[in-house]
Structure formats: structure tokens, C-alpha cells
Symmetry: none
DNA sequence: TCATATGATACATTAAAGTAGATCAAGCGC
DNA sequence: GCGCTTGATCTACTTTAATGTATCATATGA
């Protein structure tokens, strides 16, 4: 058995045990015989994708093919979810406020592509919320959004969007930076945002 | 075939094409028969982990089991890695002009297969727009298209299509050249074109 | 001590993945 | 037209994943 296969087997076994499932219980969920699960976990078989996904899904795991360059960041994220993924109470509170603010703006029916963009950035930023150490930027974004109601309009949205984008990128970069201390790899950039 | 399998197949195929490898070239790298790669990409088989990792590794991809909660973040990162380089403003501008021109021609309801062909070539060319260093050819194509309105007709379209085709191929070759510095492999061609 | 649940194993069978090789039509460059 | 590469498809053969069922030793608990 290859290294990859062994790691896979270990991951599955660990995930099952973490969920407190017996092989038979998992068998029932995944529709795969217990005998086969045993073989799989011991690395005795070269399983097929169908078996793998069946078991993985039963364990709330998703099969993914990630670019090598992204792999370290992905590992970090996965680990951060598994460990103690709780954001600080302060960050959670500030995010909740921001969400409320965005909801309010939505109710104003502004309907600008800039706003849709902002909402997407907000969602993506929240994926890294456990990494937030400092809520200043979030507060600043909320401040910017207040102007939408009064005078600012779309200009205020754009300012907020700009800040949200760089904040999200900073968080993502933070992940990469963590990894770089261990792996002498070039940086990666979170692009894909061209507010033009 | 399940949805997961199809997505996997599509991912592998896209990754291979992005690297500018033929199925045979990938076959050599991954140690998997070309015939089997063909089957895999068409979703005709339920592949094993060993096949999957062999091919994935040859494509600089890594197999990962990510917790469901982490999956969206992983997708965000993966996507951000994939669209790294940006086209120059000049290239973008020229492409925009060309797009407008094509839109205009479409409004003329010429309805020739040559035009459909041209549009497809245009789309395919845009996949490499980040690689454009020189916009002369694009301008030349746009010049050729002007004749469609006046006298040229289908002949002008054919001329534009021919230029578009070779321009697209040149860009694609550029990719292959980049890859060849790392992989001592034969060139790659972008097929699927029928200017008849 | 007796019952139960666990994971590992055994066995026979079936379905299919994988290999090695050849062939094919289509497209492209020359 | 000619030669080459492309991806798809076929054949024949071997290997093995997966199933279904059953058993086993070992904990754990009543």
C-alpha cells in the first residue's frame, strides 16, 4: 500500500472514531459491509472512489482534489476546523453586527452589483473568522456602511467592499504565512476580485 | 456514475488540459494507459484510489478529505490559486473591443457556421488572455471584421477566423513552452478546430 | 458468569478495474 | 497529399474490489 492510501485509511478511521461510530454503525450509514470497512481501515485494499465517497460522506467528509500549491493552506484550514475552531467572542459579536447591518441594507433594495459583491466577500471572509485577532477593520467596515443610508450611497458600498476584500485577503495570507514558516514555499495570492 | 465521480472526472480533465498535456503524455507520467485515462475522463469507470492518486500527482493535484464545514473555504482557496495571473489592461481593452464587434455582427443575423466557429475560437482564445503580450493580431482581426459589414461578407469572417485560430494556438503553445521547462515532454496542440 | 458489542478474518462469488496492445477518424502542420 | 498527434474505442486477459454471510477472540457490562 502506498503512503497516500495509508494516510487515507488513517484519516477515515480517525474521522469515524471521532464521530463515535462503530464499523457496523458506519456500515449502516454508508451502505458498505463492515468487513470491507475493516479491510479499508487496515489499508488492505485499494478502494474505489465510490466506496471512498460513500464512507466519506457518511463521515461528513468531502473528497477534493487540491492544487499542490494550495495544499498547505488547505491542511491548515482542515486542522483549524478539527481543533478548536471557535472564533473569539469579540469577533463573533462584531461579525453578527456586520451581518445585521448587511441585512438592513438589503432591505433597502439598493440592488447594486457592488452590494452583491460585498455580500460574497463577507461570506468568504467568514470562512476564516476563527483567525480574526483584531476587530478594528470589521468595525471600520461597519462605520463605512452607515454612510450608505445617509449620503454615501454606492460610494460607501465601494469603500466597504474594498476594505472587506483586503481584510479577507489578509486572513487568507495569514494562513499562507503560517505555512511558510514551515515550508520554504513562495507565497500565494488570493486574487479573483476585480472591482471594476 | 454519481455526481461526485463526474465532478472528479471533469476536474482531472480540466487540470490536464490546463497543463497542456495530452492523454498520452499524462499516461507516461502517471503510468496509466491512455485508454484508461480516456475512460476515466468520460466517467465510464469507478476508478480506484491508486489510479486517482497516480493521475492527480502527475497533474500536481493532491487528494484530500476535507470536513464538510471546511469545504467552502477550501474551494475559495483552490479557486484563488487557479486564477493567478491577470491580463494586461491593454489586452483587456482590445478584447472588449473585439467582443463588442462580434456582438454587433451577431445583431446582423448573418447566421453562418463560420461565425459560430469564430465565436468559439474567441472564447477559447480568451482562456489564455493573461498570456497576451502583444495586441497587434487582435487589432488585425478586428480590422478584418470591419469588412463584414461592407463588402467582405463570409470571406471576411473566414479571414478573421483563420487569424483567430492561429493566434489562439500561439497562446496555447506558449503554455506548453512554460511546461516544457519542467517536463521534458513533446509539444501540445490545441485541437478541435474545423475551419471548413 | 453470561450476554453483548467490538474489530478482524475467512470464504465463495460476482462485477469490474486495470493492463497491454491495436485500431480508428479527425485535425493540424507541412 | 502526407505524416503525425489527438482522443475514443475495441479485444483479450488478469487482477482484485466489493458483497454477503459467517465466525472468531476480546473486551465491556450487567
Amino acid at each position: 500500500m502506498s503512503y497516500e492510501s495509508e494516510k487515507l485509511a488513517a484519516t477515515l478511521k480517525a474521522a469515524r472514531e471521532k464521530k463515535g461510530l462503530s464499523q457496523r454503525a458506519l456500515s449502516a450509514h454508508a451502505g458498505v459491509p463492515q468487513s470491507h470497512i475493516s479491510k479499508i481501515e487496515s489499508g488492505a485494499v485499494n478502494l474505489t472512489v465510490s466506496s471512498l465517497t460513500a464512507i466519506a460522506n457518511a463521515l461528513d467528509l468531502e473528497l477534493a482534489l487540491v492544487p499542490r500549491k494550495a495544499a498547505p493552506a488547505v491542511r491548515t484550514i482542515t486542522r483549524s476546523i478539527n481543533d478548536v475552531p471557535k472564533a473569539t467572542p469579540e469577533a463573533r459579536k462584531e461579525i453578527a453586527r456586520l451581518a445585521k447591518q448587511l441585512e438592513h441594507i438589503q432591505s433597502l433594495k439598493i440592488d447594486s452589483p457592488v452590494f452583491e459583491n460585498l455580500q460574497r466577500q463577507f461570506r468568504e471572509m467568514r470562512q476564516f473568522e476563527n483567525l480574526i485577532r483584531n476587530t478594528d477593520t470589521l468595525r471600520s467596515i461597519r462605520e463605512a456602511l452607515k454612510a450608505v443610508e445617509n449620503a454615501g450611497g454606492v460610494a460607501a458600498l465601494q469603500e466597504a467592499s474594498k476594505q472587506m476584500n483586503s481584510f479577507r485577503n489578509a486572513l487568507a495570507h495569514g494562513i499562507a504565512d503560517e505555512e511558510r514558516t514551515r515550508l520554504p514555499r513562495p507565497a500565494y495570492r488570493l486574487d479573483g476580485d476585480n472591482d471594476e
